[in-house]
Symmetry: C2
Subunit: 342 residues, 2 copies
DNA sequence: CTGTTAGCGCTTTCAG
DNA sequence: CTGAAAGCGCTAACAG
């Protein structure tokens, strides 16, 4: 029923091998035969079976992308970067969503291995030693993105230096005249996006002789609702705290926080400034638009794929692990105001 | 290097066929051998090669998802619905982004065919006869989602009845006392999400004895910026139009429109009410939150997959084409106010 | 430049 | 209940 390379060969009066050649190495084929074959392909509407090819060549030209949640807004930004670069390299993406579950993530590796992907881009909160077992028997290059490894298995990772990025963000707020700066942090148990961002905040205050007060900090998840509630808690203490700005560990948190402020009758940025982290496309769609620190998702995607491609041709490259920090930058929009010295 | 079914067989002292059986039809294997084999699998950390299996069985348990743009917010909602249902059926998703290009979409079909997906879920603006050629030689069941076919190739589709949905939306506005209702429509050349939605708007006005004025309508793309500019054009005529509400063809448009209103000093919904279409997760994150008509993305995903699965077992099912409308519903939030009769 | 042959890793009759 | 053998569609030496 389905036309195979064999059918084409028969139709063109050549061997399957020749057809294969015009497909993969046309320069090795005589002009006349090439034309004959191409016509046959055309007529029969032949579409080569990539599965069979993959099996034969032991290479699928596919890279696996293992992410914690497709519903997470940052996924889009990341995917777009990766997809484009992959395509330019003639690679496809096979996606797997771990749904923020360790178990599902482990399944994900198995799944991608089953599908013989040539490399894997992995992102998730803490990569702990829970992954050591599966990673060590995987025999497929893996690169981390937006995270880093805390397990014993060596893994290259591309990410923003969150401590520095948050330090810079808070320093930016200080430069705009803010002194009473609160923070909505992720959980400190999250050693990837929680703790480091908090650390950056604290160290910026410290460097600028601003005392760190636990009362100025609230802990929350990374979603809109989490931000909303955390802000609400912060406001309960606002009489005494008198915060003029709040730095948040993620854009989505910031959006929730701004909404809460709005509901409580505070104006952003007039009464309180808010700053986010990520620079999602969303952040210029809010009112006010969000001042935030931008993660270069696209660049990270590029670096990850390039690295993977290197690993694929030269497996010794995979020894090149360690963290590669990519530069962040602060994008100013409307949610932060300047406080003029009196 | 990589462990194959053969290695396992050797280790367990059985034939590859037996290993295959414990993997795919354990009930056909004696208990003792089964245990032996399972141990061997465990010890060797054997992960079966899905590529090879697919080749052999002529079935990959994968369904292709061909979408116009992963960056589009609605993609997330759709994907989540589909992914979950697929997983429950033991199917994987292979994703392809056509980037709103006919050419790329055609490539997408070839790509998915190459990868031997068992079925394809396709969504894009108008499915015209441009697809007839590729679709007819595909020999893979295809189902449409959020769109419908205008080509000659018969294709089942699952979607909201946009005309009715928009009719209902505008009727809702009318029921809230609005009479001067404008619209930001998609391009009328878009016969999937442009024209029908406009039609629904017009017919609602008509049914309620409200004259249709072209001055009340602006045409735009579906993005935030498009919405912003269209609203801006609408406001230029506001002195004479005196609109009290604006219905938009998409949530993202609505968000842009609301931002524009904000910038021009109009309050939503006090001065002007705004209503969207889609019910993206975004729409409860804006200020004010967006009243909109919800597309049941998840349900659509479910229906599409179920249909595909039916086609796969019984190819005559694919004859069952035509449009299946899934019910929409209006979700009330903050962006529409009630106008009390004087 | 082209055909022959032997697999890639797994499944599936068909015997036993 | 288990093994042997053939084959899924394509590629890659190796001859010619």
């Amino acid at each position: 029923m389905k036309t195979t390379i064999r059918d084409v060969a028969n139709a063109a009066g050549v061997s399957p091998a020749t057809v294969s050649r015009v497909l993969n190495a046309p320069e090795l084929v005589g002009d006349e035969t090439k034309i004959k074959v191409q016509q046959a392909i055309e007529e029969l509407g032949f579409i080569p079976n990539a599965i069979a090819r993959g099996l034969s060549v032991q290479k699928t030209n596919t890279i696996g992308l293992l992410v914690p949640g497709i519903a997470d807004f940052f996924f889009n930004e990341l995917y777009i970067g990766i997809e484009e670069v992959a395509r330019n390299h003639g690679m496809k993406i096979l996606l797997f969503d771990s749904q923020h579950s360790l178990h599902r993530a482990q399944e994900g590796f198995t799944f991608l291995k089953q599908h013989q992907v040539d490399g894997i881009i992995f992102t998730s909160r803490p990569i702990t030693k829970d992954y050591d077992a599966i990673l060590s028997r995987l025999e497929i290059p893996v690169v981390l993105v937006l995270t880093q490894s805390f397990g014993t298995f060596p893994l290259k990772s591309f990410r923003v230096d969150d401590v520095k990025a948050c330090y810079d963000a808070v320093t930016y707020l200080i430069s705009r005249g803010h002194q009473r700066i609160g923070m909505i942090s992720g959980p400190t148990s999250d050693i990837v996006a929680g703790k480091p961002r908090l650390l950056g905040y604290k160290s910026a205050l410290q460097q600028h002789q601003i005392p760190i007060k636990e009362d100025w900090i609230e802990y929350a998840g990374f979603r809109f609702e989490d931000g909303y509630h955390a802000m609400s808690r912060l406001l309960e203490k606002q009489k005494v705290n008198k915060l003029t700005a709040v730095f948040t560990a993620a854009d989505e948190i910031a959006l929730g926080a701004m909404r809460c402020l709005h509901d409580r009758g505070y104006k952003v940025p007039e009464d309180i400034s808010v700053m986010g982290f990520d620079d999602l496309r969303l952040s210029h769609m809010s009112t006010p638009t969000l001042t935030t620190v931008a993660q270069p998702f696209k660049q990270i995607g590029e670096l990850a794929i390039s690295h993977l491609m290197k690993c694929m041709v030269d497996s010794s490259t995979s020894i090149d692990n360690g963290i590669h920090y990519v530069p962040h930058n602060i994008v100013e929009r409307e949610s932060v105001r300047m406080i003029l010295p009196e």
